[in-house]
């Protein structure tokens, strides 16, 4: 069954400053969207606000999955409604083991061990690294692979990737991209990849590209958008007057 994630008129403040100023985006499961924009345009804010990060204050707007409003829900309920965030810098949670976290998140305790090993193999992560505490003592690339293992076990409807390509070597990048591409095929995972590099998009081919400037989407389209970006840079996409 196809689900639709709809973000409308979203305004979000961080530390008292408004960063998202009326953000609109709609996508469905089984689609890959890329969200591109310069530093400070509000891309990461979107990912954090959607998943209920405590530092982000929603001022106005609506975020729904199949019409169900998410913004009043806790971070847990949003995750259970189908949102998964892969972070730019996955947080360390000392003392907590990945298996315990996954079981508490709803994974089947009887099969989670085997599922984790399977998923680790698919992204080229040594399974013993997942016996360490969540993201502790892992390199940048290992952490992002570890989050793909979480994704594979939890099978969310939508995955938000927050600049997952920054600081990632080419091999790690392509295993992450390959895992996501197959997630789209396996359970019609919808992928929203936030990036300001084109590198990720070579491996993870988007159906739709959105350009964001100053807290709003200023252009939406197909691969031609990426080409135009290549030629003109972000300056070619003017932010509308508020």
């Amino acid at each position: 069954m196809t689900s639709t994630l709809s973000i409308q008129g979203l305004r979000v403040a961080v530390g008292g400053r408004e960063v998202l100023k009326g953000f609109d985006l709609t996508m469905s499961t089984g689609e890959v969207h890329a969200l591109m924009g310069p530093n400070g345009s509000g891309k990461s804010t979107l990912a954090h606000a959607l998943t209920g990060h405590p530092g982000y204050r929603v001022l106005e707007g609506s975020v729904t999955i199949d019409g169900r409003e998410l913004l009043g829900l806790s971070a847990t309920e949003r995750a259970r409604a189908g949102l998964f965030l892969a972070l730019q810098q996955p947080l360390e949670v000392p003392g907590v083991r990945p298996l315990d976290m996954l079981v508490a998140a709803g994974a089947d305790p009887a099969t989670v061990g085997a599922r984790v090993r399977e998923e680790a193999e698919r992204v080229g992560l040594r399974p013993e690294l997942l016996e360490r505490f969540v993201n502790v003592d892992l390199s940048g690339g290992e952490r992002k692979r570890a989050e793909m293992v979480q994704l594979g076990v939890l099978r969310p409807r939508f995955c938000l990737l927050d600049e997952v390509d920054s600081g990632l070597d080419v091999d790690a990048l392509s295993s992450v991209a390959r895992r996501l591409s197959s997630a789209v095929g396996e359970w019609e995972c919808g992928v929203l990849a936030i990036t300001h590099f084109r590198r990720l998009l070579v491996e993870l081919v988007p159906t739709t590209i959105h350009v964001v400037r100053d807290g709003r989407v200023v252009a939406t389209g197909g691969p031609e958008i990426a080409e135009r970006l290549e030629r003109e840079g972000y300056d070619g996409f003017r932010a509308p007057r508020a």
Partner: protein, 415 residues
């Protein structure tokens, strides 16, 4: 109703020897502490009501709980002590002996009244405990299974006294477990002596009734190249005070002390430590971790003292506290007293709530609030439980996990 003073007088009349009268007189001179004494500043002494606690003149009819039986299941030898009275002992493995000492003397040879002069509660123990239970591991003996001492307290004033002696080159694991003490006053006094090259792994596990007052004191004496690893876990008690000292007396002696406490309701956990380095190349590692929820509070006060001549000593103390509600409170007071230059010495302490971003990370994976808190609190205690001896770890971990589950439900953290 029998008062404390009347019942104490009856005990002294029935058992006048072993320095009891001297200890009682010393107690009367010293008197109970008051809140104006710095080391008793955080103690709700007004709630103690010493007079309402009658001293047990014979063991109360206490039977070990299921929790005690689970611990005993992992034991090589189980000793049951009720209100300080040692129950008949079964067959013992070679190299282990258990006896009762009524001499009123410390391991050091001093009379208890001298050794514990000015410490009101230890003096009460010296006056009123029926005897010292002595667990002795012969030189060179290596015990296969842990010795579990079940210290059961009735609902009056209960005084147990234990001395563990580990001979030269011997190795043993001992668990001292305390339960009972409903509305009671529980005052255990323990000494642990590790002779040269000996090794003692000790767990002091306090699960008294949540109405009990405990004032406990333990002292380790470690000789040349001996090793005392001690874990103290405080879950029970209304007021739980535990003073854990170690004297590192011979070169190369080592002490590792881990204290763990979890406060709920109106509990107070009050931990005092004193690592006394008397000889060169001695080593102490102290890690104290506690969590306080609801209206509970904790106190950690630790002193590392390094004597002149204790060169190349290496001493560390660390205390971390989790605050799980706005009404909970933790005090952390590490102290150093160093009279030798050629040493390494460090201390660290922290008091704070669970990390809100770590919790969000777990929640953003779909973990519920209470489960996220439970996993994080359990993670905070992970290194404490990891160090427990294998044969005893499972039931203690299960107890701590269930206490953590309750605390996680009650916790109110940040945002």
């Amino acid at each position: 109703m029998t008062t404390f003073a009347d019942s104490a007088a009856a005990v002294l009349d029935a058992h006048p020897g072993g320095g009891r009268r001297e200890a009682w007189r010393a107690f009367e001179e010293v008197g109970l502490p008051s809140a104006s004494d710095e080391v008793w500043r955080y103690t709700p002494l007004g709630e103690l009501g010493l007079e309402r606690h009658a001293v047990a003149t014979s063991p109360s009819p206490a039977a070990p709980s299921d929790a005690a039986r689970r611990l005993a299941a992992g034991a090589g030898v189980v000793l049951t002590v009720v209100d300080g009275y040692l129950a008949p002992v079964g067959e013992l493995p070679e190299g282990l002996s258990v006896s009762v000492d009524e001499s009123g003397r410390s391991h050091t040879g001093q009379a208890l009244v001298e050794r514990y002069a000015n410490d009101a509660f230890s003096l009460l123990n010296a006056a009123l405990a029926p005897a010292t239970t002595v667990v002795r591991v012969e030189p060179g003996a290596i015990l296969a299974g842990p010795v579990v001492v079940l210290d059961l307290a009735g609902d009056g004033a209960s005084f147990a006294r234990l001395r563990v002696e580990v001979g030269r080159g011997a190795e043993a694991v001992v668990l001292e477990y305390l339960e009972g003490g409903r509305d009671g006053l529980v005052v255990p006094l323990s000494e642990y002596a590790v002779d040269a090259d000996g090794s003692l792994t000790l767990v002091t596990y306090q699960r008294l009734d949540e109405s009990a007052w405990q004032v406990a004191r333990t002292t380790g004496f470690v000789e040349r190249d001996g090793r005392l690893r001690q874990a103290v876990i405080g879950l029970g008690g209304h007021y739980d005070r535990s003073r854990n000292d170690a004297e590192l007396r011979g070169p190369g002696a080592a002490n590792e002390l881990r204290t763990t406490y979890l406060g709920r309701g109106d509990q107070v956990h009050d931990f005092r430590t004193h690592q006394l380095h008397l000889a060169p190349r001695t080593n102490s590692r102290l890690l104290s971790k506690g969590a306080v929820a609801e209206r509970s509070r904790s106190v950690y006060t630790g002193l590392i003292e390094i004597e002149k001549g204790a060169t190349r000593t290496d001493a560390r103390q660390t205390n971390h506290n989790l605050l799980l509600s706005p009404s909970a409170h933790a005090d952390s007071v590490p102290n150093l007293d160093i009279r030798e230059n050629d040493v390494l010495c460090a201390h660290a302490s922290s008091v704070g709530p669970l990390d809100a971003l770590q919790r969000w990370y777990l929640e953003s994976r779909g973990v519920g609030r209470v489960d996220a808190q439970r996993l994080m609190i359990q993670g905070f205690f992970y290194e404490m439980l990891e160090a427990l001896p294998d044969a005893l770890a499972a039931p203690i971990e299960a107890d701590v996990a269930s206490a953590v589950g309750e605390v996680a439900r009650a916790a109110q953290v940040g945002s």
